[in-house]
C-alpha cells in the first residue's frame, strides 16, 4: 500500500497537519476525517456541484479534487460561512427566499455563490445564473436561489 503524504492545509481558517493517502479526495477528507459533512457527494462526476468547496478561493469539485492538491492551501467550506453563529448575508438570503428545499445541494450552491460574489460583488442576473449553472438543484427550480444571490449582492453593496 502506498505511503501516506504529509500535508498542511487550513480549513475555514483552522490549520491542520495530516497524513493522507494520495487517492483521498478533499470531500472524503473533510467528511470522514475532519467531520465536516457539509459538502455532499451526489453525482460524483463533477457535474452536480453538491461537493463544491473553495481552494484558495476557487470553486472545485470536492469529489474529484485530491486532498494532497490542497497541500499548503486554504480550504473553505459551508461550515465556515457563519461567524460566531451569525449567518452571513448570503446564508440569510437563502433563508429569506426559501432558496432550498431538501438542502442537499445547498452547501455547494452557497460555496459557488460565495466564489462568484468574491470575484464579482455586483453580478447581474445573467452573471448569477452563469455562476451557479454548474450546480444542480432538483427541488427549487432555481429562481429562489438566483433571487437570494442577488439579494446577498445587494446586501454586500450596502455594507
Amino acid at each position: 500500500m502506498p505511503e501516506t503524504i504529509d500535508i498542511t492545509l487550513s480549513v475555514n481558517g483552522l490549520a491542520h497537519e495530516l497524513a493522507v493517502q494520495a487517492n483521498v479526495t478533499i470531500a472524503d477528507l473533510l467528511r470522514l476525517e475532519l467531520g465536516l459533512t457539509g459538502a455532499k457527494i451526489s453525482c460524483d462526476m463533477q457535474v452536480c456541484g453538491a461537493c463544491t468547496v473553495l481552494v484558495d478561493g476557487l470553486a472545485v469539485s470536492g469529489c474529484t479534487y485530491l486532498a494532497v492538491d490542497a497541500d499548503g492551501r486554504e480550504v473553505a467550506t459551508v461550515e465556515g460561512l457563519a461567524t460566531d453563529g451569525v449567518l452571513n448575508p448570503l446564508q440569510q438570503a437563502f433563508i429569506d427566499h426559501a432558496a432550498f428545499q431538501c438542502g442537499y445541494c445547498t452547501p455547494g450552491m452557497l460555496m459557488s455563490a460565495t466564489a462568484l460574489l468574491a470575484e464579482n460583488p455586483r453580478p447581474s442576473r445573467a452573471e448569477v445564473i452563469a455562476g451557479i449553472d454548474g450546480n444542480i438543484c432538483r427541488c427549487t427550480g432555481y429562481l429562489p436561489i438566483i433571487d437570494a444571490v442577488l439579494q446577498a449582492a445587494e446586501a454586500g453593496a450596502q455594507r
Binding site: P2, Q46, Y65, D69, D133
Partner: protein, 294 residues
C-alpha cells in the same frame, strides 16, 4: 472510487522526468485531474504512480512568442486562466468565449487546456477550435522537444501522438493575420456539445480568400474538413450577400457527406443538419471578427 496510487510532486521539468524514470512506466502525469481522476474513479484506468505537474514553473503562464507573436499557453494553464486572460481576449477572443462555456466553473478552475487535449475526448471544445486555428502542441521528453500540429496530435478517440513519457509543455496558436476571423459555435443539449464547428476565414478585398473549417462531436474525433471550407473561398465577405448564402449552402451540402456518428443527441442525419446550422452561425461570427481585423 479512486484506486490507491503513489504520488510524485516534481518542482521542475527535470525532476518530472526523473520521477517518471523512477517508475516502471505504470505512471501518468496529471495536473487538474478532472479527466484522468474521473476515468480512474470509473475503473477505466489505474496507475501505480501519479505525477503532479502543478508545481512545475515551466508549464505555467500565458505569453506571446517573441518572434511571430503566437499565443503560447503553458501545459498546466487552466481553462479558467484562459477565460480571464487579457492576452487571450485580445489575440483570440473566440477562445475566451469557448472557455467560458467549457463544462462548469469548477472544472474550468481545476482542469487544464493541456490535459483536455491530451485526454482527446471526442467532444472536446478546445480541440475543435484549435484545429481550425492551426495550433500546435509542444511535446517534451527525455529525448528532446517536438512541435506537433493538432490534426497530427489527435490520432483517435482518447488517443494522441504523445508518448506516455512525453509532456505537453505548451499549446501554440499562430496570431491572427490581417482580415482574419476565427469563431467557434456549438449546439449543446447536455453536458458535452452535440456538435461543434470552428471556422477561420481570411478576408481580402471584400471576399473570402482562405477558409478552414473543423467539426467536433460529429465524427469519432474533431476533424478539419477542407472541402467544406473550400466552399467559402471566393464568396463575398457579407452574410447578407448572395454568394455567401450559396457558399454556405454548398458547405452544408458537403457536411452531408461526413461519416457522422449517432449518439444520445441524435442520429447521424440530425447531427449533420445541426452541424450545418452551427456552421452558418460560426461563419457569420468569423466574418464579423474578420471585419474588425481588416
Amino acid at each position: 472510487m479512486i484506486p490507491r496510487f503513489a504520488l510524485a510532486r516534481p518542482a521542475s521539468l527535470a525532476e518530472a522526468f526523473d520521477a517518471w524514470d523512477a517508475t516502471d512506466g505504470d505512471a501518468s502525469w496529471y495536473a487538474g485531474g478532472t479527466e484522468i481522476l474521473q476515468v480512474m474513479k470509473m475503473g477505466l484506468a489505474r496507475f501505480g504512480t501519479m505525477i503532479d505537474l502543478k508545481r512545475i514553473p515551466e508549464l505555467r503562464g500565458i505569453s506571446l512568442a517573441a518572434g511571430d507573436g503566437a499565443l503560447v499557453i503553458g501545459g498546466s494553464v487552466t481553462h479558467r486562466e484562459i477565460e480571464v486572460s487579457q492576452d487571450v481576449a485580445r489575440e483570440l477572443p473566440g477562445l475566451v468565449a469557448l472557455e467560458a462555456h467549457v463544462a462548469n466553473i469548477r472544472v474550468r478552475n481545476q482542469g487544464t487546456l493541456g490535459g483536455n487535449l491530451c485526454f482527446a475526448e471526442p467532444h472536446s471544445d478546445p480541440a475543435t477550435f484549435l484545429l481550425a486555428c492551426d495550433a500546435r502542441v509542444r511535446l517534451q521528453g527525455r529525448g528532446g522537444t517536438r512541435d506537433v500540429a493538432i490534426d497530427q496530435f489527435i490520432t483517435g478517440p482518447l488517443e494522441t501522438a504523445r508518448e506516455a513519457d512525453e509532456l505537453l509543455t505548451a499549446v501554440i496558436i499562430p496570431p491572427a493575420r490581417s482580415g482574419e476571423g476565427r469563431a467557434y459555435e456549438k449546439a449543446k443539449f447536455r453536458e458535452r456539445p452535440a456538435v461543434s464547428v470552428a471556422i477561420r476565414l481570411r478576408v481580402q478585398g471584400g471576399a473570402i480568400a482562405e477558409a478552414y473549417v473543423s467539426v467536433g462531436s460529429l465524427t469519432d474525433i474533431p476533424v478539419l474538413v477542407p472541402d467544406v471550407a473550400a466552399a467559402f473561398v471566393g464568396a463575398q465577405a457579407d452574410a447578407a450577400a448572395g454568394t455567401f448564402g450559396e457558399a454556405l449552402a454548398q458547405a452544408r451540402a458537403r457536411l452531408g457527406h461526413l461519416d457522422a456518428i449517432g449518439d444520445l443527441d441524435g442520429s447521424p442525419d440530425f447531427k449533420r443538419h445541426l452541424a450545418g446550422v452551427v456552421l452558418g452561425r460560426a461563419a457569420i461570427a468569423a466574418l464579423s471578427e474578420a471585419a474588425a481585423r481588416a
